[in-house]
């Protein structure tokens, strides 16, 4: 059924259909609409979940952890400072191998106080063991949220999944949304290490130096295995519902001489820049990174690369640019743009390509000559 929805409402709609048994959340701009809408679904009994209105994000994640360890489906949503406040618990969720699904509406970190889009919030969580996907349309926010539950709960994964959408530019934009008849797309959850009162077991015990590294390795092994699970899940989604995704979304890349790499809405707007550049005779393409963890193998052989980071690692560089350079073992043109909702248009993106200087870093709006 086709309707119009914001990115936030699309996530809430997907959660309603995935039917988590427990939702624990704390509101924060620009995510609030997700948990407000879910609370409405629970109040109107359209959704039979237990909704726990906790007093903080740390508690939201702790409540999801407590619920998830009993072997049930759980969901929460947050943004920016809320995500950072959870940080201790996000590590716990991954370490305890709990398939919690969380929507994070990407927002900058203050001060200076700012409520607009930036990816630095989620990127600060990149080493926790969570899988992370970044979406670019209202439809994709809905589709990715549905798929997140199946991927997280797959027995070859059993890790939490974070669905990331850009604050305001996607969370609050209204676009067409086609909802699906879910059927048995998300199988019922079976957590092998769920609490069973018939068979009492210890949780969170001390793991000594002779064991701890094995737990770390198990997380890594599962993240590697998740590639197969993501591909299978997305293939089945495409088969059932007709919409195809991938670890990356490649647009006119095959014969491209130069490729723009970005995430989220900027990655989608880059496609317009590509069309315009092609009309000028520049063989450009765009590659939108969807899954940040597991980090995909990028097909960039023989192509120049312009990376747009809506994030920054101080004293180091754009997080995507540095990740890509380490993978392809050569320099890119690193653009830092869109921080705190900074306006970046497809014309600006085309300029990044026209004026690219491989090996350099360019802060949009700071450096003078692009």
């Amino acid at each position: 059924m086709r309707k119009i929805a914001t990115g936030n409402k699309a996530v809430a709609e997907a959660v309603k259909q995935a039917k988590p048994e427990v939702i624990a959340a704390y509101p924060i701009t620009p995510q609030t609409e997700i948990v407000e809408q879910i609370a409405e679904f629970v109040t109107s009994k359209e959704l039979g979940s237990r909704y726990i209105p906790v007093e903080s994000e740390h508690s939201a994640m702790a409540a999801c952890i407590g619920a998830s360890i009993t072997g049930i489906r759980t969901f929460t949503a947050t943004s920016s400072h809320g995500l950072l406040y959870m940080h201790e618990m996000t590590n716990w969720a991954a370490g305890a191998r709990l398939p919690i699904v969380m929507a994070n509406v990407n927002r900058s970190i203050g001060p200076g106080w700012n409520i607009w889009a930036e990816h630095t919030d989620a990127l600060q969580e990149r080493d926790t063991g969570w899988l992370q996907v970044y979406v670019s349309t209202v439809q994709e926010a809905y589709d990715a949220t549905l798929m997140a539950f199946r991927i997280a709960e797959h027995n070859d994964v059993l890790l939490p999944v974070m669905v990331n959408l850009d604050g305001f530019s996607l969370s609050h934009i209204m676009q067409p949304l086609d909802t699906v008849e879910l059927g048995d797309f998300i199988p019922s959850i079976h957590l092998p290490h769920a609490i069973d009162t018939e068979k009492p077991t210890g949780y969170g015990g001390l793991t000594g130096p002779d064991q701890h590294y094995l737990f770390r390795w198990e997380i890594e092994r599962s993240i590697r295995d998740s590639v197969k699970v993501i591909n299978e899940t997305e293939a089945d989604f495409a088969h059932r519902f007709g919409r195809k995704y991938g670890l990356t979304e490649n647009y006119r890349c095959d014969d491209a001489d130069i490729v723009i790499v970005a995430m989220g809405t900027l990655g989608k707007e880059a496609e317009v820049a590509v069309d315009n550049l092609r009309n000028e005779g520049v063989k450009a393409g765009s590659m939108r990174i969807r899954w940040l963890r597991p980090f995909p193998k990028l097909e960039l052989k023989g192509k120049e690369v312009v990376v747009i980071d809506r994030d920054y690692s101080f004293g180091f560089g754009g997080i995507l640019a540095k990740s890509i350079e380490s993978q392809i073992k050569r320099d890119v043109f690193s653009v830092i743009a869109g921080l705190g909702g900074q306006e970046v248009t497809y014309e600006d993106i085309a300029d990044f390509v026209r004026n690219h200087r491989t090996g350099e870093e360019f802060w949009f709006g700071v450096n003078a000559n692009v």
Partner: protein
């Protein structure tokens, strides 16, 4: 792609107007996005929202710099904001006003939406509702079909006076 910028004041329903317009365009079988610009809004402050309509999926998220059309729900914002900024040559402007406003190089349209809302007693918290009648005016201008405009209004509002107000705006406007 047809790009529309809506000027209003916080609390006047400019965001809902954008949503209704996009929804009606979707009912017409088109692609549409409605995108409020979120700044530090407060009730009464001038705000803008954007609507894009196209025959293919819309990939642009940045603000509209060169609108094909400008909609002014509150003529008083024209005292403080250059509503015509960037408008394309040959573009169109619609102003909620009982009298025609002249602008260089664009076609100007007007209907007294406030009068229509007051006549239909469409008033919430002391403010006349402008976002449903404006859809009638935009249908008359051919941006959306009249049927889709009514369908969109009925999907969002159960009070049939909203549809009546849109019909009145449709009839009163000289296109």
């Amino acid at each position: 792609m047809y790009e529309i910028r809506i000027h209003s004041r916080g609390g006047q329903g400019g965001v809902t107007a954008a949503r209704l317009l996009a929804l009606a365009a979707i009912h017409d079988g088109k692609y549409a996005t409605a995108c409020p610009f979120y700044g530090a809004e407060r009730r009464g402050a001038p705000i803008v929202s954007f609507v894009r309509i196209d025959d293919k999926p819309i990939k642009v998220y940045s603000q509209i710099k060169k609108p094909d059309m400008v909609v002014v729900l509150d003529a008083s914002v024209m005292d403080v904001v250059d509503v015509m900024q960037g408008i394309k040559k040959g573009g169109r402007v619609f102003v909620n006003s009982a009298s025609k406003k002249e602008f260089d190089g664009v076609s100007s349209y007007h209907v007294d939406l406030t009068g229509i809302a007051l006549k239909e007693k469409l008033v919430v918290a002391g403010s006349p509702i402008l976002n449903t009648p404006v859809l009638g005016a935009l249908a008359k201008m051919g941006i959306i079909s009249a049927d889709s405009a009514k369908k969109a209004i009925r999907e969002m509002f159960s009070d049939e006076r909203n549809v009546k107000a849109a019909e009145a705006a449709y009839q009163e406007m000289i296109a």
